[in-house]
Amino acid sequence: MLKFTAEHEWLKLEDGVATVGITSHAAEQLGDLVFVELPEVGAELSKDGNAATVESVKAASDVYCPLDGEVTEVNQAIVDDPSIVNSDPQGKGWFFKLKLKNSSDADALMDEAAYQDLIA
């Protein structure tokens, strides 16, 4: 199941674990990324708290945590090569995996159609 936030993150939900990244729209708006900082594995994050930082040549931007949960895995590949986020934001450019505190929290997020309406 794929969900989206108004902060331009996507979540792919499987067995109570969300793989989180930024949307193609967000990646395009940010421009070429040159730096990515990810949370620590094991970090307990709260909804809307800072989860990651991305930087383009121009500016730094925060990536917010879409739901409450614990970070179980991070994508070191995008730290080593931030351009992956631009080339494949909704695939190889994922940021981190989050074990959700309450799986049902995700129900309130947007589906793809609602997100497409938001950015249209």
Binding site: F35, E55, S56, V57, A60
Partner: protein
């Protein structure tokens, strides 16, 4: 700026839109921050081929002495800038700055001897204030802002070849030369200078022919349009100051490490020593040094360290030294680059200090400027 303010546009505005630029407000103008290629590619293209920038928002000003002589205009402007303008030869350009009575910097500018008058280019954000300042102070001169001209910057190792297609004589120009030229029958003023650290030109063109000339330059596939985003990363790698960030009224030219722009005739013991606002402080600092200096800063990690990040002597944030005034990722350096002010005892290249970024203290090395090797054609 509030939402009600109507942004001004340059004569190339329609061209920017047709090229797919992302527009942002800058110094009261609606300006292209980047084109579809993006900041990274635009930056690298300028360093390896050539880039065309619209800098028409900057102020182009003619200063003409009422007497009609260059000397009188030069003497007059020397009362506002600590630069040898009388000794500037016809067709030559120099960097300078307006100083205030406290020895701070009101703006930086390029100054050209145009034979019987002066031509200066000032920053967009300061041009109204600069104009008022010059009109009030240069009483023996007529000071006129040229509102019917655009300004193009063509920068990069292939800039000469791109411009030569329109004007073959360009090959005879050297760094900081200024010549009249006819491009597509438009009367232009061309200087061999810029703000990227590369060889290149700034071309003053009549507003109504600017788009035609820009399009003619862009017909060369080695020349691509470049936005303000790459302009900033290019100038920072080149160690060039941005007024309002790296220099302002709280920084003196000596603190800013710009003493190279103050020639001997204006220094203590020179033929026309002093005689500019803040001369006591500035000449005193030239003799005795300053307590802080602008330096290059090379973050050791991959994280960019941006303007206003605080600098410390230690990794615990105990001894504050100053702050970063410009910082970004340098695409040619392939890593972060920055500038800032530190106490003079920390201003030696190789000195290690720390910057606070998102609660962490990241190591930086004080570095010699520029970060790249300029390709100016001297």
């Amino acid at each position: 700026m509030d939402d009600q303010t109507v942004l001004k546009t340059t004569p190339l505005h329609a061209l920017h839109l047709s090229l797919g630029a992302r527009m942002v407000p800058f110094a009261g103008y609606d300006m292209p921050v980047q084109y579809p290629a993006g900041v990274l590619k635009e930056h690298l293209h300028t360093r390896t081929a050539s880039g065309l920038f619209d800098v028409s928002h900057m102020g182009q000003v003619v200063i003409r002495a009422k007497s009609g002589t260059y000397e009188d205009a030069a003497f007059a402007l020397e009362t506002l800038v600590p630069v040898d303008i009388l000794g500037l030869k016809p067709g030559r350009q120099r960097y300078g700055f307006f100083t205030d009575d406290n020895g701070g910097i009101l703006d930086d500018l390029m100054i050209t001897n145009r034979g019987d008058h002066l031509f200066v280019v000032v920053n967009a954000s300061c041009k109204d204030a600069d104009l008022a300042h010059m009109q009030a102070q240069l009483t023996g001169c007529d000071v006129e802002l040229l509102e019917d001209r655009a300004l193009l910057a063509l920068q990069g190792p292939r800039a000469e070849e791109v411009l030569a297609a329109l004007w073959p004589d360009v090959v005879e120009m050297k760094f900081m030369d200024v010549r009249d030229a006819s491009l597509h029958d438009a009367p232009c003023i061309i200087s061999r200078s810029g703000y990227s650290g590369e060889d290149g030109f700034e071309i003053s063109v009549p507003a109504d022919q600017a788009e035609q000339i820009a399009k003619a330059l862009l017909e060369d596939l080695h020349c691509r349009p470049i936005g303000l985003g790459a302009r900033d990363s290019l100038r920072l790698e080149a160690g060039l100051c941005l007024y309002g960030n790296d220099i302002d009224t709280t920084t003196s030219p000596i603190e800013a490490a710009l003493e190279w722009a103050i020639q001997k005739p204006r220094r203590t013991g020179g033929a026309r020593a002093g005689g500019f606002p803040g001369a006591d402080r500035i000449l005193g600092e030239l003799a005795n040094g300053t307590s802080r200096r602008r330096v290059g800063l090379k973050p050791e990690g991959k994280a960019p360290v941006r303007a206003h990040a605080k600098l410390y002597a230690d990794a615990e944030g105990k001894a504050e030294l100053g702050e970063v005034t410009s910082g970004t990722f340098g695409p040619s350096v392939e890593g972060p680059v920055a500038m800032g002010y530190v106490p003079t005892r920390f201003a030696e290249p190789g000195c290690q200090i720390f910057a606070e970024v998102r609660g962490k203290y990241l190591p930086l090395t004080v570095a010699a400027l520029p970060f790249i090797t300029p390709t100016y054609k001297r």
